[in-house]
């Protein structure tokens, strides 16, 4: 090799590396600040606002979130459930009868149902992840009015502010079966991302090698959720909990013995994002030894949550379909039709893997289950072209709160690019620097959720929000969207469908982000009856079936 050739190749390699590193946060196109548009939507058919919530309805179809938190019957039900489950778990922890396997899961349960782990001691993980709703949003009125997005721990007390509580930008993602998702990785042969947790995959699990545990470390520190200002504040709260003994029983005596600074109370009751914290991610002044111990504790806290998420309480593989695979249940004619459509004409199992063979276009079903515990997701990411959900209060969270925190300076100008935001560094630089160049192929994509428990609701008539922004509020709407997105496309925002059309029936507003819109779906040619059959099949995927 001549020197010049070597130089050229080295230069090329260097330039390639440089180019990869130069894909820096902020490179993708976000909009300019815009005010949220007025709302104009119909309530879902048959839905009635609970009497206790009538007082919480503001003008312009908006909600007084503080009022909802205090009065809504679902919110009350969830708090009662979590108190009961917390008490049960504590009793089990104190019994001394749990084996090591169940000890870790029970610790996770204690953590998940503990509202004191939020900065204001008022929001447990389970407030947004209701067991009775398949560990997703369990507050029906929020599905109707806020896209299923849940108010977090921090009220907004600035006079006249709407919303009057910090609130996230996405519908809480169910964490059933989340522990079965591998750490996020880019599969070279498939040229595609697999695994990770969160709608955008940012819980990569790269450090813990456990995406679900990595995910569990997110909400406690999210300004719009539990809003703790420092991971060590979560540990401080654990050290004051009534299950401290149990944590130390599992992870070692002295695990939570940390010398806390005198201002720990002040700092740990200041929500993350507060101007007084100056953006410091670890404002608690700890000795290096204690900081290391707090980091270890925080990881163990997360591992325990992941253990609970993988337990039989959350991910048990006990749906009717599971028993059908085991030969202990029989699907009805409609459910079987739906199943055939799910893996055939509907192409649903292209992404929602059911572990079996297919019947499309003359293919034959061998009847052999390739997997007897299919996850009903391939853990990849897709842009389904979901319209922007104009109902999200997040779009109005565009001015600083009393803490000086501004959750969404762009207001309605914010575009949720899903994995694009993650790759673009919206939540910090991705851990794998080589991923940055993949941004153009993954902008607008969100994780394929498991179809398991998508039909689980606390009671008949409950409105469940689906998709990352909760735009779709029933499984019928979901299937109809997949079936007709490209049959009834209109270049309008939600609430502006042309006269003579009906939004979500004969009109689908334009996608929030049209980049990389997936065309596996959009025109499936399903009849109304066939859509219903698929919905019937999805209902066989709800855990807790008694054969």
């Amino acid at each position: 090799m001549k020197c010049s050739e070597g130089f050229s190749l080295l230069s090329l390699a260097g330039m390639t590396t440089l180019a990869m590193l130069m894909v820096v946060p902020g490179a993708s196109a976000q909009g300019t600040p815009q005010p949220a548009p007025p709302l104009n939507f119909q309530l879902p058919a048959g839905y009635q606002i609970p009497p206790a919530d009538q007082q919480c309805i503001l003008s312009g179809q908006r909600l007084n979130l503080q009022c909802i938190i205090a009065n809504d019957p679902d919110a009350k039900r969830i708090r009662a459930e979590e108190a009961m489950l917390e008490a049960q778990a504590l009793a089990a922890a104190k019994s001394g009868k749990l084996d090591p396997y169940h000890q870790v899961q029970t610790l996770g349960e204690l953590e998940i149902f503990d509202p004191k782990l939020a900065v204001n001691n008022n929001k447990a993980c389970s407030f947004c992840h209701d067991p009775a709703a398949g560990y997703g949003n369990g507050i029906s009125i929020l599905s109707v009015f806020t896209g299923g997005t849940n108010p977090g721990s921090v009220p907004i007390t600035v006079h006249g502010a709407y919303p009057n509580n910090r609130i996230g930008k996405r519908n809480p993602q169910s964490y059933t079966y989340a522990t079965y998702f591998p750490p996020l990785h880019y599969n070279q042969s498939q040229a595609d991302f697999y695994g990770g947790n969160f709608w955008d995959g940012r819980a990569t699990g790269y450090k813990l090698q456990n995406a679900a545990a990595n995910q569990a470390e997110g909400p406690p520190l999210d300004p719009d959720e539990m809003a703790n200002p420092d991971p060590a504040c979560v540990v401080w709260k654990l050290s004051r909990s009534n299950y401290k003994f149990f944590f130390e029983q599992i992870y070692g005596v002295g695990s939570l013995e940390i010398t806390w600074p005198s201002d720990v109370q002040t700092i740990c009751t200041t929500p993350i994002g507060a101007a007084v914290l100056n953006g410091n991610p670890t404002p608690l002044q700890l000795s290096p030894t204690d900081r290391t111990l707090a980091g270890k504790d925080f990881d163990e806290f997360a591992y325990a949550i992941a253990a609970y998420e993988g337990s039989d309480s959350v991910s048990p593989f006990t749906s009717k379909f599971d028993y059908y695979l085991a030969g202990k249940a029989t699907l009805t004619t409609q459910e079987l039709n739906g199943y055939d459509l799910f893996r055939g004409k509907g192409s649903c199992n292209t992404c929602h893997l059911d572990g079996r063979s297919s019947t499309l276009l003359g293919g034959s079903d061998t009847g052999q289950a390739a997997s007897v515990q299919p996850l009903f997701t391939d853990t990849t990411y897709n842009n389904l072209g979901i319209p922007k959900n104009v109902k999200l209060p997040f779009y109005s969270e565009d001015t600083p709160d009393q803490w000086g925190f501004n959750s969404n300076p762009l207001g309605f100008g914010f575009t949720d690019e899903g994995m694009g935001l993650f790759l673009d560094g919206f939540d910090g630089v991705p851990p794998n620097l080589s991923w940055g160049v993949l941004l153009p192929q993954f902008e607008g994509k969100f994780q394929t959720s498991t179809a398991r428990n998508s039909a689980m609701v606390p009671y008949p008539g409950f409105v469940k929000a689906h998709m990352h922004n909760g735009y779709l509020t029933s499984l019928k709407e979901v299937v109809h969207f997949y079936n007709t997105r490209d049959v009834y496309p209109y270049p309008v925002l939600s609430g502006n469908c042309p006269q003579g059309t009906v939004e979500k029936v004969t009109c689908w507003p334009m996608p929030e982000d049209s980049n990389n819109e997936n065309t596996t779906i959009g025109k499936l040619g399903l009849s109304d009856e066939e859509e219903n059959d698929i919905v019937a099949f999805l209902q066989t995927l709800v855990d807790g079936y008694k054969p």
């Binding site: 040229a191 595609d192 297919s358 499309l360 490209d486 209109y490 003579g500 065309t519 596996t520 025109k523």
Partner: protein
Amino acid sequence: MTTAKLRILTIALIVTVMGSLLVRPRSAYARQNSGVEQNSARPTIESVSDTLAFISWTTPNPGGTILHYAVVRYGKDPNHLQFTAKSPTRINPSHSEMVFRVRIQDLEPGTTYYYHVSSEQANGISDPATSGVNQFTTRRADWISAKK
């Protein structure tokens, strides 16, 4: 062995050998195809508005990566298809055929476009099926208001 049996065995052997030679080496997916031509994509215009068009075509399952891209190259001059629209789509390994669909947006109203379709794997390797150059015309800009 009788002469008749020997003759049958010989014929069977010839048929088997000829058959194996005639079957082109293709992916396991493509082998299941039900008659759609392997290398010729015949696109149809699913729908077209003033600024948006959907084009689709069906091919034998090309195999390869699960993630594929349906690709349309288009332009106003049939000899200069300078624009490209790519839509991600996922193939189902169990399906014998694959429907590719592309969404083309930001078109000019009332304009004739020429286009050519193809598809490729996520790693950039092209699938065999392509089309010739076809055309479609977008609607006038006032078509939505006309529907009101």
